[in-house]
């Protein structure tokens, strides 16, 4: 278990709290300049924060007891953004250097693990971007680290290679038992690879939880914006026949039980993938739940998923987005300007304080 609390004002303000269990991958996401890399550097011992506690199997940093282990004492495995391979050393030598008991057969086993067998005698300049990343990963693992830190490890490779490396890392993860922290600004990457997600903005961690939780149930409007929530609207909690409902323009939506008081203004969001399209020929399950009529404004398809932008009929000027598989669009013969029926499932509606 890795436990991190950091506080500082200079050189960049940080207020960070995060945990990562053994065998889990935590994605630290946030826009450029939000302090993600600095947090990683604090964990590695490359930057000393003013205040805080960093604990792995042992305590590495404790400002209260003036304890601060050097990077050499911490046993972290770090993959740098540009990999930082030693250019004058071969792949074999790069990895041997990081081993406490340098053994060539151990290097070969590591290289096999990252699918790089046979390239032991190459120099970093003779490797492709993807191969360099694998060497950096093997070198980070060579130290038998307590914690593995990955600083935007996919940003320096092209998109095709990236996809391949995602799958490899995903498979490699199952063999690793230490906490892994992945710094990235790519939400899809985080969602695909990580178990937990922590959103950081201007040096402050805003929310940590499962990927599903952070993406679909952000605690604040800020988190919703940072995680690219696409259907964010304003509404009001009203009471109808003794039940709390959500008033959204002319629509009255049913919601799950909530602590928000009647009359309070709220933001509400719904994930584009959780909106239910009413099928033309046969009724779908859940059709009776928050039915809404809309007109298709536009449709964009990317990799088999179509994002449908719709205008809700009536005086509601807002566009709402729905993601559906491309074949559903074809089967229902959806076209621009067409009227369709939707259900905003009550379990998918998430309320945020205004």
């Amino acid at each position: 278990m890795l436990d991190v609390t950091i506080k500082q004002q200079q050189p960049i303000p940080l207020e960070v709290q995060l945990q990562c269990a053994a065998g889990e991958m935590l994605a630290l996401v946030g826009p450029s300049g939000s302090g993600k890399t600095t947090v990683l550097r604090c964990i590695a011992g490359l930057h000393k924060p003013h205040q805080g506690l960093i604990r792995s199997q042992t305590t590495w940093f404790d400002s209260n007891h003036e304890l601060n282990y050097s990077p050499q004492q911490r046993r972290v495995g770090m993959v740098f953004q540009n990999y930082a391979l030693f250019p004058h050393l071969t792949v074999m030598q790069n990895i041997l250097l990081a081993m406490q008991k340098p053994q060539e057969h151990a290097v070969k086993a590591l290289l096999e693990q990252v699918h790089l067998s046979g390239l032991e005698s190459r120099y970093p300049s003779q490797l492709s971007g993807g191969q360099q990343q694998r060497v950096a990963l093997a070198r980070a693992l060579a130290r038998d680290p307590e914690v593995l830190l990955l600083d935007e490890p996919f940003s320096a490779v092209d998109k095709v290679t990236r996809r391949k490396l995602y799958l490899e890392l995903h498979a490699l993860r199952r063999q690793l038992s230490m906490p892994i922290i992945l710094v990235t600004h790519d939400l899809d990457e985080a969602a695909m690879l990580a178990d937990q997600m922590c959103v950081i903005h201007q040096g402050k961690t805003l929310q940590q939880g499962t990927v599903e939780d952070v993406l679909n149930r952000p605690q604040s409007l800020n988190v919703a914006r940072l995680t690219d929530a696409r259907n964010v609207f304003e509404g009001q909690i009203v009471q109808v026949e003794g039940q709390k409902k959500l008033q959204w323009c002319e629509q009255l939506l049913e919601i799950a039980d909530t602590d928000f008081a009647v009359g309070s203004n709220v933001y509400w969001i719904i994930a584009p993938s959780k909106i239910l399209l009413h099928q033309r020929r046969r009724p779908s399950r859940g059709e009776q739940e928050n039915p809404v009529q809309a007109i298709i404004d536009d449709m964009i398809t990317l990799r088999g998923i179509t994002t449908v932008l719709m205008k809700v009929t009536g005086h509601n000027p807002l566009l709402i987005q729905m993601d559906i598989p491309e074949h559903v669009v074809e089967r229902n013969q959806l076209q621009r300007g067409e009227h369709i029926g939707l259900s905003l499932l009550q379990s998918a509606i998430h309320l945020i304080e205004q």
Partner: protein, 220 residues
């Protein structure tokens, strides 16, 4: 041909450049990695001999090495010899005079090493000393060698400073460049030409060697 002067010149250039290897490395490393007040002043002082007229530098060194000065007295109490007008004095002056030629290439080479490489070494468990030996030194090697060769060549060709503090004592402080000057004054054109050609040949060979070596290093 004054073979003795050639010997003095080569000996002076060799001991100066070899002394400058550790001195230059320590100074370059402190400037490249250290964070201290007056860093720019330190760098400026090291570079000063590059722009100061050799006679001015020689004059100050002469005053500093005088038998009445602190340095002169200290040297006399240890060795029983005078610092000015001796080979040791010349050696000391040459170190100061050639300092920028050794430090600058070493400094640039160390500065060119990406900070992540040192950090990656630390995260791989290497101590700072091991990081220096295994990562920084091999990566800065071409700059270090350039500094070594440049300071050798520069010392070999120094004239003004030698004239000011070394005088012209055969076998002790008369270097090849002083001997050339003497020959020209004595209208001995043939000897002046011979000795000048030797200095020219050494300069061409060493500078070519630097370029060849650096080129080969860059190709890896």
């Amino acid at each position: 041909m004054d073979w003795q002067a050639l010997e003095v010149s080569l000996k002076l250039a060799l001991v100066t450049s070899l002394s400058l290897l550790p001195i230059g490395l320590i100074l370059a490393y402190s400037l490249a990695r250290g964070k201290f007040r007056g860093k720019y002043l330190a760098e400026a002082l090291i570079t000063l001999p590059l722009v100061l007229p050799p006679t001015v530098l020689g004059y100050f060194l002469l005053v500093g090495m005088d038998s009445n000065s602190a340095a002169g007295k200290l040297f006399y109490s240890i060795t029983g010899d005078n610092l000015a007008f001796s080979f040791s004095g010349l050696w000391f002056a040459s170190i100061i005079y050639s300092l920028p030629f050794a430090v600058q290439p070493m400094l640039r080479a160390l500065e060119n090493i990406a900070p992540e490489l040192r950090e990656a070494a630390w995260c791989s468990g290497l101590s700072r000393w091991k990081t220096f030996i295994k990562i920084e030194l091999p990566l800065a090697w071409s700059g270090i060698l350039t500094g070594l060769i440049l300071s050798f060549c520069h010392t070999l060709g120094e004239f003004g400073v030698v004239l000011m503090i070394g005088g012209n004592i055969a076998g002790e402080t008369r270097t090849l460049s002083i001997a050339i000057y003497d020959s020209v004054l004595a209208f001995d054109q043939q000897q002046a030409m011979q000795m000048s050609l030797i200095l020219l040949a050494i300069a061409v060979i060493t500078v070519t060697a630097i370029y060849r070596f650096n080129h080969r290093l860059l190709r890896v």
